[in-house]
């Protein structure tokens, strides 16, 4: 059930992303996506293997759901966030959208816990998730700025 739910969500989000008139260039979407896979992957590995703050399920369907969650769903949501934030002009609207996405990512994380894809261990506090998502978004905005700088430089060359 969890794997099906995640796959359907990814399919819908990806379908709308492909159809949308995009602000981001292919290079930017790919760079942000891969940046999230790397940063979020390291963060999850540290939580799972080193700090043991997250327990992973050993059921095969849930294990594959966790791979899709880490490699597709979360990067896709963050890419959507960057896309929408860059499509609005005012700073306040950008801030509100970012805050909404942090809330959404936190909800998705706890939904994954509820679906038993993984389980947060006892000392885990929801505000830790909020902090982690905020930091991830800031890092990805920096990556987006970096790749935009490279594109501008290449086009001038």
């Amino acid at each position: 059930m969890a794997l099906t739910a995640i796959l359907i969500t990814c399919w819908i989000l990806l379908g709308f992303y492909v159809m949308k008139n995009k602000q981001l260039l292919l290079f930017e979407s790919m760079f942000c996506w891969m940046g999230v896979v790397l940063l979020f992957g390291d963060y999850m590995l540290i939580l799972i293997t080193n700090l043991r703050l997250i327990d992973m399920s050993m059921r095969l369907d849930l294990v594959w759901a966790s791979y899709v969650y880490r490699i597709v769903l979360i990067p896709l949501l963050v890419t959507w966030c960057i896309e929408l934030v860059y499509s609005v002009k005012s700073f306040q609207a950008k801030l509100i959208l970012s805050a909404l996405f942090i809330a959404l990512l936190t909800t998705v994380e706890f939904a994954a816990d509820w679906l038993q894809i993984f389980h947060h261990r006892a000392p885990w506090k929801p505000w830790w998730s909020v902090t982690a998502w905020s930091l991830l978004l800031i890092a990805v905005f920096c990556l987006k700025g970096f790749i935009r700088h490279l594109i501008k430089k290449d086009l001038r060359a």
Binding site: L26, F27, F31, D42, L45, M58, Y67, R70, R148, D154
Partner: protein, 177 residues
């Protein structure tokens, strides 16, 4: 959070030496690709390696450990920085010699065999400690991944040409350069 290795022995030296050699080679080569393509392709090599390790080196499959401990230690992280220069070198040769068609298929096979040789050396130095995996299993993975890598490069190259053309013909392109 990220422990240091238990002992600084063969596997750590292997990583440090190959990393120094690979990055030196990359920096000594003349620049060939636009910076944005280089950045995306470097990150892509790392993502592919990391995604493969997520899937097959962590429980429940857990088919090998990287470096000294099953934990995510500093040299596990550094090892992932070793993949991008190798990807870049493979791409550099592919692009410099305009390898296409049957040549490309042969090139993918040669790269996969070289990667297999490198993995075998790494396993001898205990960078990879197999627990149910053997080097030969990696061959189909390399064949698939290297083909995909080259295909993505061709796509990005094509997109970059379109972007540059749009930018030049419009006077002010997507970023008003």
């Amino acid at each position: 959070m990220m422990p240091l290795p238990e002992k600084f022995d063969a596997n750590e030296w292997f990583i440090v030496l190959f990393m120094a050699a690979a990055y030196t080679a990359v920096f000594l080569l003349p620049r060939r690709f636009p910076a944005v393509i280089t950045a995306v392709m470097l990150l892509l090599s790392d993502v592919i390696a990391k995604a493969a390790d997520f899937i097959i080196a962590t429980p429940p499959y857990d088919l090998y450990d990287i470096t000294d401990t099953p934990k995510f230690d500093l040299f596990d992280f550094i090892l992932w920085l070793l993949y991008p220069p190798f990807g870049y070198l493979a791409l550099y040769i592919y692009d410099k010699f305009h390898i296409r068609g049957t040549g490309a298929a042969l090139y993918v096979l040669i790269c996969s065999l070289l990667a297999l040789g490198f993995e075998w050396l790494a396993a001898q130095a205990h960078v990879f400690n197999y627990k149910g995996w053997t080097t030969v299993y990696s061959l189909p993975v390399y064949l698939f991944v290297i083909s995909l890598y080259l295909l993505i490069y061709r796509l990005l190259q094509q997109r970059f040409r379109i972007l540059k053309h749009t930018d030049a013909s419009a006077g002010a392109g997507p970023y008003g350069s």
